[in-house]
Each structure stands twice: as C-alpha cells, then as structure tokens.
C-alpha cells in the first residue's frame, strides 16, 4: 500500500512539475475527441485532419471516438479534461447550441468551452423531385396544404432549420422525421412521399448531379447556384444564418498560447494538400476561422437560436 502511495505521490509531483519544463505540445499525445462513432461526418473530418495536424504541430494526434447521447458524451469528456491542450474535440454545432437554447440538459455549459477554430461550414438548399411541377419556394407554399418535408430526427440541424425558416416564410409544413440518414430523406423525395427536402448543399449535390433531384432555393445571402433563387432574392437574407459547422474546442480556461498554437496548426492543416483534396472530393466547404472569430460566431449563434426558443421547445 505504501508503495502505491509513494508511486502516486511521485506521479502527482511529475504532473504538477510538468508544465515547468516541457513546452506544448512536446510532452504528450494530443487526444482529438470525436463525439460520434467511426465512419460518420465528424469522424471523417477529424481523421482527415489528424495527419496534417500532426505535421503542423510536430506531435502525435490520436483521434478517439466517444459516442453516445447525441454527441453530448464526447463533449462532456472534453469539458472535464485538463485544459492543457492535450485534449481537444470536435463539437456538434449548432446541434448543441439548439439543445442549450431549448434548455435541454447536455451535461456541460457550452459557453465555457474554449473555442479553437472553425474548420468547415455548410449552407442549406431546398430540392424537389426532378419532374416536379414546383419551381420555387412560392410554388411550394402555394399548394394549399402544409408542405411535407423529410428529415432524420426532430433535433437534427436540418430539421431545426426547416422549422424556423418556413416559420419566417409564414408557410406551414409537416416535417416527416425518422429517416435513417440524410440520403434516405432525399430518396423519400424521389419516392414522392414528401414534397421537398431541406439539406446541406453538399449532400443534395450528388442527387442533383445524378438527375434525381432539382434545387429550387438556397438559404444564402447571394446567388450560390446559377439560376436558383436565393434567400436574398426573396427578401429574407437572414435565412443565410443557418449553417452547419465543424468546430474544434477544448476544456474551459485553456492558456492563450496553447490555443494559438492549436489554432495556427489547424490553419496550416486546412491549407494542406491532403485536406484540400479530400474536401473537393467529398463536396465539403472548408471555411477556416481562428479562435477569436470562432468564439464570436458561437456567441452569435447562441443569441440567434435563443430567439426561436418557443418554436423549438419540445411540445
């Protein structure tokens, strides 16, 4: 027993003394937490970035999947870690932002997370079946009955976007949720059981290219796709606020120099050839933001979604 006590005393002393002699990131591996299982969008972006980040930092980066409870379990693990820069994670934004706005318990205060960088940002569009007579959002809203849309779950970001944006457009919808994945929601449009679907442009692109679906609208503040109406065109540029982000953060109160080191390394990684190549192959829109801009954006998003609390609260 005394032996263990001595050992742990030595360990504690070593840990306490650690920062005194070593400089970030040289004395440990960096754990990059993915709050979902292997193979999803979050997993892929982290695993693609990991080698480039290793090169930029000169340290080993170990991606670790901590799935469960809609991405909150992984977020909690990052929140509770030491704020030494050796544990960082990717966050489900704005999924967690919305959960917090609707006062759902996510197990940690999102506002306390140290934001390090924004890696990618995706905007939304609405698509219908190629041979559908509907040409615009105005047509869609003029069918005389609530529009049927398809989605994965009510708390998915695209579903939240659909509910709020059609409310802004004053156009009633029935959001048919429960589809297995975003591909299934697009197939539901092809089968004709729903009228349209609102999804990230990158996901819809594949089906538009294959001739199965057709864009009618983009939630952007300028023309994003030639010949397709944008939110600005119909006088609702605020719809461009709806995005899906891949944001990297760490535990609360990380030292500023560590944040800068990580944030700079992520910038280098974003610009590296393998990451750029992967992004163009998969239709991912990379959009790097440094730590301060990311923090400001997260604050903005919280305020933005808080206004729609009433619409989003579980009925």
């Amino acid at each position: 027993m005394t032996r263990y006590l001595k050992l742990s005393a030595v360990a504690v002393a070593a840990l306490a003394a650690g920062p005194a002699w070593a400089e970030f990131p040289n004395d440990d591996n960096i754990t990059f937490v993915i709050p979902y299982g292997p193979g999803g969008g979050f997993d892929t972006i982290v695993r693609t970035y990991a080698p480039a980040l290793e090169e930029a930092l000169g340290a080993t980066v170990v991606p670790e999947n901590i799935p469960g409870a809609s991405g909150t379990r992984g977020g909690q693990a990052v929140y509770r870690a030491n704020p030494d820069g050796y544990t960082i994670g990717i966050f489900n934004i704005p999924g967690l932002t919305v959960s917090e706005a609707t006062e759902r318990d996510i197990g940690f205060p999102l506002g306390e997370i140290t934001w390090i960088a924004n890696l990618a940002e995706e905007q939304y569009a609405i698509a219908v079946k190629t041979d559908s007579p509907i040409q615009s959002v105005a047509d869609l809203c003029a069918t005389g009955q609530p529009i049927k849309l398809s989605d994965t779950g009510v708390d998915s970001t695209s579903s939240i976007t659909a509910v709020i944006s059609f409310d802004i457009l004053d156009c009633p919808i029935v959001n048919v949720t429960g589809y297995g994945g975003s591909n299934d929601t697009m197939i539901a449009v092809m089968r004709g059981e729903v009228d349209a679907t609102l999804k990230p442009i990158g996901s819809l692109a594949k089906y538009v290219e294959s001739g199965d679906l057709r864009y009618i609208f983009t939630l952007t503040d300028s023309t994003a796709i030639e010949g397709v109406e944008s939110a600005a065109d119909i006088g609702h540029p605020e719809l461009a606020k709806f995005t899906i982000n891949r944001v990297v953060g760490g535990p609360p109160n990380m030292p500023a120099d560590v944040v800068t080191a990580l944030s700079d390394a992520l910038k280098v990684a974003t610009e590296s050839a393998p990451v750029q190549e992967w992004a163009s192959g998969t239709g991912t829109s990379l959009s790097y933001l440094p730590a301060d801009a990311t923090t400001a954006k997260m604050g903005d998003l919280s305020t933005f979604y808080a206004q729609y609390k009433g619409l989003l609260a579980p009925k």
């Binding site: 299982g37 292997p38 193979g39 999803g40 997993d43 892929t44 695993r47 693609t48 991606p63 901590i66 799935p67 469960g68 409870a69 809609s70 909150t72 379990r73 197990g107 049927k148 779950g153 009510v154 708390d155 029935v174 048919v176 949720t177 429960g178 589809y179 297995g180 994945g181 591909n183 299934d184 197939i187 539901a188 092809m190 089968r191 059981e193 729903v194 594949k206 089906y207 290219e209 294959s210 199965d212 190549e277 992967w278 192959g281 998969t282 239709g283 579980p314 009925k315």
Partner: protein, 507 residues
C-alpha cells in the same frame, strides 16, 4: 454492367498479393464470429481507422473478408454451445444445438458451412442480377412497406413458438417494451429512461443479445455441469468424429430449404433496419411452417440449420442493393463499408456505381471468396472444433464469459454496456429456466423500433389515412396478404389435423 470491372477485381485479388488482405479478413471474421459479443460490425468498426492508410481496394478485400466470414464463424458457437456467436446465428441454435447434444455436431457444422457458402453465392448472384434495376427496387419500398414487413416479422414470431403461444407473446411484448426505451425517433422525446442518460439511445442490441444468449446459456451450463454432448450418446461415434461430409451433402438434398433461406435472406437484407437476425429467423420460421413435419424442428432437424445459415449469408448480397442504387446502407456492415469509402475521400451517393465501381465490385468479389473460403477453413478445423462439446463445461464457461464481456466492452468502451449484458444474462437465464423463448424477445427488440418509426411516418405521409394509403400500393397489398396467411396457416393446419384425426378415429 461492369463485367470488365468485376473481372479485373478478380484478377487484382489474385495477382497483386491482395489475397493476403482477404485472408486476414476471413481469419479475423471467423474469430470475431466465433466469439459471442463480437460480430462483423465490431470487427469492421475496429478496422476502419486501420484502413486509412491502405489502398481503397485492399480495404474492400479486408472488409469483404470479415463480412463474409463472421456469420459462419458465429454458427460454430451456436451449434456447439447453444450460444450464437453473432446475432444472426441465434436461429441456428434451435436445431444446431440439439444435433450437437446428440453427438451429431459434425453434421450440423458441415450443413452450416455449405449453406453459408451457397447462400452467400445465391445472394451475390441475385445482387448482380438486380444491379440494373436496383433503383426501382429501392424506390418501391417506402415506410408503408417497412412497417408491414415488421408486422409480418412479428406475426411470424407469434405463430412460430409452437405450443408456447402465450409465453412467446409475453417474451415478444417485453421485447417491444425494451424497443421503446430511449428517444422517440419522430418527436425526439426521451421516454422510459429513468433519468439514466445511457438509455437515451435506447437499449442496445449487442449487449442484450450477448447477455441473453452467451451469459444466460453459460449460467445454465455451469449449473448443469458435465459436457455439451451428453454422456453415452453415441460416444462410440464421437471417438471418430464424422458426419461433416454428410452435413455438406444434406444441403444439396434439401435444396428447396436452401433456396427459400437465400431468397428470404436477400430480400430482408435489402431492407435497412431489419438485418440478418430477422432474415435468419424468418427463414427458419417459414421453413418450419411449410414443412410437412413441423414437430420435428427444435429437436435436431438439419433443415433448421440450413435455412437460417443460408439466409444470414445471402443477406450481405441483399444489403448491397440499396448501396449500389443510392449509396445508402442496407445493413450495419454496409454502413461501415460506406464509411471506409468516405474515409478514403469518396462520397457515396446515387452515382456510386459510376464513381466507385472498382470498390463495389471489389467488395462483391471479396464477399464471394470469403463466403466460400471461410466455409472451407471452417470445415478443415471442424475435427478439432467438435472436441469442444466433450470438454467439461467448467473449462468453457469462464472463458466464454470473460471473452464475451470483454467483447461488449471493446465496441464503445462503456462499462454500462457490460452491466447491461450481465443484467440481460440473468434475465436470459430465468427465461431458460422458465421456458420462455429468448429469440422472440430479441427479434421484437429489433423490429419494434422500425415498426414504430415507419408507422408514424406512414401516418404523416398519408395525412392520417394509413390503411387507404397502403391499399393503393401493390407491394403493401402483397405484404398484407402475407400477414393474413401467416396467421391463418397454423390455424388451418390445426383444423386439418383435427379433421384427419377424427376421420381416422371414427370408422
């Protein structure tokens, strides 16, 4: 069609040394299959990060090797220890284990090997035949059809438990209750979780199944003692282990069973969310229902091994139908296969056959080679495997318990999964003791979620006119008829036997 691609995938497999990846996949698949708690999805999930640095085609060979081999590996444990190695092998226990107890494990393993290989081949040929019309096939099955298929599955459960209808219904009901724990997929409400956030995502299948079958069965074995093959039963025959050849041959003799199992496997495999457990169970129960002597099942009828084993390999071919059509997964394994493509910088979608033809055909070739290869390897090892049934269970129980609990922990690294496995193990043991069917509970757990979700969807899509909506869809009408027939068949047969008995006794 991509015959050239198919051909070049075959050539590359043998020329480029890629066959080593396939072999590694097969061996890994067999091991993960044999071990309760570990299955094809675990193996693939663990492999995903490893494939990152590989050529995408080699990654396909590795994945295909694993996918094709696990279900045969799992049947070995099912037959020898009454513990399915993977979920889809649960139905194989019904007749495989009684055969092992009678000292005829060789026969069962031979049949399982041949049925797995041939079922896999039939499934893949069906897939190749369906590639040109895969899109139409996928578009024919919407929420209405998914809902009716789950009802058909539940109906098959209800009538399959012969002579124990009430117990079967109770077990099925408990399974449905379990299925509804967690967040409601439509409304997002959290239900029945007792404030435990582990339950937000529902009661997971793998710990439930491993607990029910592996842990429950080990408790039963430990308390009984002895060895699996009963003392004295054909001990002379056991000393010279045989019957494997006869088992292989039995598959060819019972070709209608093989064919039915494979067709059911392919069709169910193509439906996302149902998967191999339901496929093999439906193959088993339909074989029992249509057999001239249904009472011989559960006591060591070889057809009871052939049907589920052909179905659970054929389902891999079926599960690829939605994949080649739209780049969507038909099973948990194909979801991970698509994840491997994404990790290699590809973006699976409706044009998957256009852009990823090389990988798709590579996977098909790997699956074909693996289904046959795993069975051959299994047959070579069967001499030694059979000895397991003669070892004192005192040696088997601790090993199986330790390995299965570790397996459950490995998948997500959650201690709560291990705890759930132990709880389900106790429940499983009680169900064995009091003679309640465990598979019924598990199938209901699998089907409950899809049933609930697609019912809600049909309600929304049809503006509350669900029945009218279904009656306007030809495939739905066919499924409705199938459900009615499933219920009427046993009643009809009973009436027939009563009349026949009366006719015999009267004159």
């Amino acid at each position: 069609m991509g015959f050239e691609t198919l051909f070049s995938a075959v050539v590359e497999l043998f020329v480029g040394g890629s066959i080593l990846y396939l072999l590694a996949g097969v061996m890994l698949g067999l091991c993960f299959g044999v071990i309760p708690g570990l299955g094809g999805t675990t193996a693939l999930a663990l492999l995903i990060p490893v494939t990152y640095g590989m050529d995408s085609l080699d990654a396909m060979y590795l994945a295909g090797g694993v996918m094709g081999a696990t279900s045969f590996g799992g049947s070995i444990t099912a037959i020898l220890l009454n513990t399915p190695g993977t979920a889809p092998n649960a139905a194989t226990c019904f007749d495989g284990y009684p055969l092992a107890q009678q000292g005829k494990a060789g026969l069962a393993i031979g049949a399982s090997a041949a049925a797995s290989a041939l079922g896999g081949l039939i499934g893949l040929f069906t897939l190749l035949a369906f590639i040109p019309i895969a899109k139409q096939v996928v578009l024919t099955f919407g929420p209405a059809e998914f809902f009716l298929l789950t009802i058909l599955g539940l109906a098959a459960i209800a009538v399959s438990v012969r002579g124990k209808l009430l117990r079967g219904l109770i077990a099925g009901g408990v399974g449905l209750i379990f299925a509804f724990v967690g967040s409601d997929l439509i409304s997002g409400d959290i239900r029945f979780t007792a404030d435990v956030d582990y339950l937000w995502d529902g009661i997971p299948l793998v710990p439930t199944l491993t607990g029910m079958f592996a842990i429950g069965q080990m408790m039963e074995l430990a308390l009984k003692g002895g060895s699996v093959a009963k003392e004295g039963v054909g001990s002379a025959a056991l000393t010279k282990i045989s019957g494997v050849g006869a088992g292989v041959w039995s598959v060819f003799v019972n070709w209608p069973t093989l064919l039915r199992g494979s067709v059911i496997g392919t069709v169910i495999g193509a439906i996302p969310g149902l998967g191999g457990t339901v496929a093999s169970f439906l193959a088993y129960s339909s074989t029992v229902q249509t057999d001239r002597d249904p009472d011989s099942f559960g006591k060591g009828n070889i057809k009871g091994v052939i049907a589920p084993e052909s179905a659970n390999n054929a389902k891999d071919g079926g599960a690829l139908i939605p994949t080649v059509a739209f780049g969507i997964p038909g099973s948990a394994e194909t979801a991970l296969f698509l994840a491997i493509l994404v990790l290699h910088g590809m973006d699976p979608g409706p044009s998957i056959l256009l852009y990823n033809e090389r990988e798709i055909y590579g996977l098909i070739v790997a699956l074909t080679a693996s289904a046959v290869g795993a069975s051959l390897i299994g047959l070579m090892l069967s001499r030694w495997l059979l000895l397991i049934t003669r070892i004192d269970v005192g040696f088997i129980v601790p090993v199986v318990v330790a390995i299965s609990l570790t397996g459950v922990y490995v998948l997500d690294g959650r201690m709560a999964d291990v705890l759930l496995t132990v709880v389900m193990g106790l429940l499983g043991y009680l169900m064995i003791r009091f003679d309640y069917p465990r598979l019924t509970l598990v199938i209901a757990l699998v089907l409950g979620e899809t049933a609930e979700r697609s019912f809600h969807q049909v309600q929304m899509i049809s503006d509350g006119q669900a029945l009218n909506f279904m009656l306007a869809r030809p495939v739905s009408v066919l499924l409705l008829i199938a459900i009615v027939v499933t219920f009427l068949l046993p009643i009809g047969r009973k009436a027939l036997t009563t009349r026949r008995n009366r006719a015999v006794s009267q004159p």
